[in-house]
Amino acid sequence: MRCLALSAPLLAALSAASMAHAAEIWITNEKDNTISVIDVATLEVTRTIPTGERPRGITFSKDYSVVYICASDSDTVQVMDPETGEILHDLPSGEDPEQFVLHPDDKHLYIANEDDAITTVVDTETQKVVAQINVGIEPEGMAVSPDGNIAITTSETTNMAHWIDTGTQQLFANTLVDSRPRHAEFTHDGGQLWVSSEIGGTITVFDARSQAELGKVRFDIPNIHPDKIQPVGFEFDEKGEYAWVALGPANHVAVVNMKTLEVEDYVLVGRRVWHMAFSPDMSQLFTTNGVSGDVTVIDVASRNPVKTIKVGRYPWGAATRP
């Protein structure tokens, strides 16, 4: 989910370097057409920045000089200067871009075009579309392997993870998952691909080399009906030991042991939790809670929610700016 947060080693490296500004979490507000910027030190919203229509996916370039925003209803990816909040230019994105991932080359964006059953590949330097790949209906989840060789699109109605060879921009495999896949992530070592299925209520874990299914993560919260436990966004911690999984209308984030695929804890957050981003030092996790319009801050070590921060309407994406 480079669209929403950055890989742990990179974050650690960058947070070690001295930066001019305090660390921030950037939140897209889907139904306010804004970004709320949260100061990690004070846990306050310090800026609210206007965007195009229906901002969802958000990611920074590797050097944090620009931030990319999926403005879904404006049918564009906006490129913003994070210092000034000024839109530098728009990228051609195909229709209705929902979610994207920045290739490790820091140059190519892989964009899910939700209404068009297409994945669009855009060169951020030439600002040109370099490929469009037919995928299943309602593409959403986007991932790219750490070595950059494989990109993934998940399609919500076709219920598949589509495996794209980034060398040829062709699909080379399509693997079925449970209903309504929403999000995909490669593990830090690139060995596994995880895909969450919102209606299926599971995460499917694949071997990235063979595309074979290794197992499934299942969830069970006392007094919450299984139908309402709907995994969406998730993030892996720094060491690759635990996955933090947003469970949508179950209003909880699950802490999953990545070795056993068992859930160790459920952390109560706001209503309809979508996505999340870690603080640069990985000690805090910020979750976007769509229905309650706020962000829950979780202390990673104790696995306790420590603060709720009001943001705009329908917060969706989250990205870290160290």
Partner: protein
């Protein structure tokens, strides 16, 4: 192609060449799992045209392709998946004009496919399911709400993606109970369907502890577009006080003229006001906006309940074929009725089939003209298996025996 794990990063300037080569050399996606010959999955849609009874308003007649348009979208959705899985979905469309024999048409449709969506009166639907040609087939009721089709008249080969009347009225009564609008009155029309819907309202009121204190039959034959403001206040004056006025007018003949003309300023519900429906153009949460926009793009109009039921039936077949890699109707029936099957139906919860009567479980939106007021099952109505089974006839109450294998 195998995996790209060792593939060198492509030089973007030579992309077009690479794409050309790949296209020429490699079969389409999922080559390693798709069969050489695509698996054909024909699906039939059959509608028996009935004469439309006259109604007061001349505006906005129901679209002529209600249902069919949903089936077409379902086929397109399936076909996209099929392009990756090697499944070829086709839709055959049969319209039986007034006066022609629906059973002959059904026979010839069933000669082409074992999966048949039917929009026909309840009696005809049962006769189609009873045809020798239909034994071993899967018939989908995509239009009718009569509870008896899921009860005493149920058939082993007849599944229902249209919600039953009692699912709709249970949804409304849950909302009414939650709002504590416990004093209800009812106006019903004289069409046979109105009496059935009223009976469902009665049963739901009893089920959820509400009371329909008074009822009247709409017996005017005047044109209410001129007279509603004069007649409705008087007609509703002797109801006394109440919280909500229920209306049972399944043809939408007079119901649209009731709101704002009642003696007391009270909301209406049932077929007008707050309306329980399988679908509505105002449903947008849970990804529904995407289904709505795909439908509008295909048809140029908004998606209605009948379209949704047909879409859900075609998608259910598609989902089962995808998971089983088979188009055998017996295998599909077993899978559809198992707890393995789930359809993401854009209403926020997985949808499945009740294995005691073939009814698709589904949330029921309670809608006004421009918004979803609430989505049933309403929070707080509990069930030992799934909250969706608080809507409609539950296993223990079912009169259907055809499903006990």
């Amino acid at each position: 192609m195998t995996g790209p794990a060792q593939a060198a990063r492509c030089d973007w300037r030579s992309l077009s060449v690479a794409v050309l080569l790949a296209t020429a050399l490699a079969p389409p996606a999922l080559a390693q799992t798709a069969a050489n010959e695509p698996l054909a999955v024909p699906i039939g849609w059959l509608k028996v045209v009935e004469p439309d009874p006259p109604i007061l308003s001349n505006l906005a007649p129901p679209p002529a392709d209600t249902g069919l348009a949903g089936a077409r979208l379902g086929r397109e959705d399936n076909a996209t998946t099929g392009s990756f899985t090697g499944h070829d979905y086709q839709l055959t469309e049969t319209l039986v004009p007034e006066g022609e024999d629906p059973l002959a048409a059904a026979r010839s449709a069933l000669a082409q496919t074992p999966f048949l969506l039917v929009d026909a009166p309840a009696e005809t639907m049962v006769k189609i399911a009873d045809l020798p040609e239909a034994q071993g087939a899967l018939i989908f009721n995509v239009a009718r709400g009569e509870d008896r089709l899921r009860g005493t008249d149920c058939r082993r080969n007849l599944l229902h993606t249209a919600p039953s009347d009692s699912m709709l009225t249970d949804a409304l009564m849950q909302f009414i109970a939650w709002r504590q609008w416990s004093d209800l009155v009812l106006i019903e029309g004289e069409h046979p369907g109105d009496a059935e819907f009223s009976a469902a309202l009665d049963a739901s009121a009893t089920k959820f502890g509400q009371k329909i204190a008074a009822r009247k039959t709409w017996a005017f034959d005047a044109d209410m577009r001129r007279n509603a403001s004069a007649e409705v206040p008087l007609f509703t004056q002797d109801f006394g006080d109440y919280d909500l006025l229920l209306i049972s007018d399944t043809l939408d003949d007079f119901d649209r003229y009731i709101p704002f003309n009642t003696w007391l300023p009270r909301p209406t519900g049932g077929t007008e006001g707050i309306v329980p429906a399988a679908w509505s153009p105002s449903v947008e949460q849970s990804g529904a906006a995407q289904l709505q926009s795909r439908f509008i793009e295909l048809t140029g109009r908004e998606m209605q309940s009948g379209d949704y039921a047909a879409w859900a039936a075609v998608r259910a077949v598609g989902e089962a074929v995808t998971r089983l890699n088979s188009a055998d109707p017996a295998a599909l029936r077993d899978f559809l009725l198992s707890d393995q099957f789930q359809l993401a139906g854009f209403k926020g919860r997985p949808q499945s089939f009740r294995d005691w009567n073939g009814q698709m479980r589904q949330p029921i939106p309670l809608v006004s003209d421009r918004a979803v007021v609430a989505l049933a099952p309403i929070e707080g109505f509990m069930h030992q298996v799934t909250e969706l089974d608080t809507l409609g006839t539950d296993r223990a109450e079912s009169a259907c025996t055809a499903f006990s294998d």
